[in-house]
Symmetry: C2
Subunit: 233 residues, 2 copies
């Protein structure tokens, strides 16, 4: 049984966390309407000259601006808040343009559980940062949208859980090579590598290790579209 002071401390922590979360959202929303060029100026950095060679630029600079602490580490972007930052490219019709990368598919399949898996933790609390990604708009002139702080609804959670468990079951059945991007209603598994010759080792349920393309979990556009609708309607 916790001592009363622990309860008081926790409660105080929760209040701080709540306030910090609101500050984070406020700061993120202060970017709404700004172009990439204006954003770069805010940061005092130069815009990369083209988008092909700077795919992750906006996401990484947004982390810097919002004070994310985890640089390429296996932690939430905002550790103390448990919040993950994800940029969300939009078409000219303000629909998701792409699937959204979530995290890498674990190389060790055995013993993975939904309750504790990395994907679930990543998607437990997300700060979405939409932006214009229509190729007809000059890159420097693309505008940042209004940030959305989101947690999965019961239905969304359950749908993700079902997809995840189906995909993981298929993986453990052995042939990673047979896993298709077509599986999964909202979640899919796709290659995630520098190139198609890259290989890592997958350890299957039989304990054997086989070389495979590194893969990642991606959210299909249908899923992120729901999030946008949920917020704007």
């Amino acid at each position: 049984m916790p001592h009363i002071s622990d309860v008081i401390d926790n409660s105080s922590q929760d209040t701080k966390k709540h306030n910090s979360t609101r500050e984070l959202l406020t700061r993120a929303r202060s970017l709404a309407g700004k172009t990439f060029a204006q954003f770069a100026e805010l940061l005092g950095t130069a815009l990369p000259r083209n988008n092909v060679s700077s795919k992750g630029w906006f996401g990484q600079q947004a982390e810097v601006y919002l004070g994310a602490t985890a640089k390429s580490r296996a932690e939430p972007d905002f550790v103390e808040l448990g919040i993950e930052l994800k940029t969300l490219p939009l078409t000219s019709h303000h629909q998701p343009k792409e699937s959204t990368y979530v995290c890498t598919v674990p190389g060790e399949i055995m013993g993975q559980q939904w309750q504790t898996c990395w994907l679930r933790r990543k998607l437990a609390h997300v700060l979405w940062l939409p932006y214009e990604a229509d190729n007809k708009i000059d890159w420097a002139q693309r505008r940042i949208g209004t940030a959305i702080l989101w947690q999965p609804s019961k239905a969304q959670h359950d749908a993700l859980k079902q997809d995840w468990e189906e995909l993981m079951a298929n993986l453990s059945l052995g042939e990673m090579a047979q896993i298709s991007s077509h599986q999964g209603q909202f979640l899919q598994i796709r290659p995630k590598a520098a190139n198609s010759r890259e290989l890592t080792n997958m350890v299957g349920s039989d304990g054997n290790s086989t070389p495979n393309l590194p893969c990642g979990f991606y959210l299909r556009p249908d899923f992120t579209r729901l999030i946008l609708q949920q917020h704007y309607n």
Copy 2:
């Protein structure tokens, strides 16, 4: 049963290997008597300005000069010959100045066997390249010695095997933290890291993973002293 042509091919391979090994030794010995400054000039590179910040310089440049193929990979330096290159720093009395790093201690202890372990493969065939390492000699003026091509004698092999099996047995008993550099007659285990705060995961015989300092196997000077004596007497 092999076809007769396979036998002929192998024999041809062996001859090539023999010749290449002699060429390697000859090329290595052509460095005998040269100073670091002269060696750097041979390579067309600059000498690093001090030795503290360039600990691996000679070893790495020697690999380049001798055509080693494995750059930081888990292979022998000269893959086709199965030969490992090791530089050997000497005192003013031409005795080994330091213990000699061999390889990292595997993070997975279970199932390790002497017959197939990396340490045994590394030490199966070594091209030793001695050089003056007395701090009283200006770094640029240190001279390279006569290369020695070495394979362990039966007695040396057995002694290494005994040390290795003793050390590995201790590791698998659990407490990596309790392993001491004092153990082992010719072989020891010591830290091998950027700094003492670095940690990696060790998987013990119980299958549990515990964080530990990354460690390496080192040959004690007594061992390399034997190799020098064996050759020069």
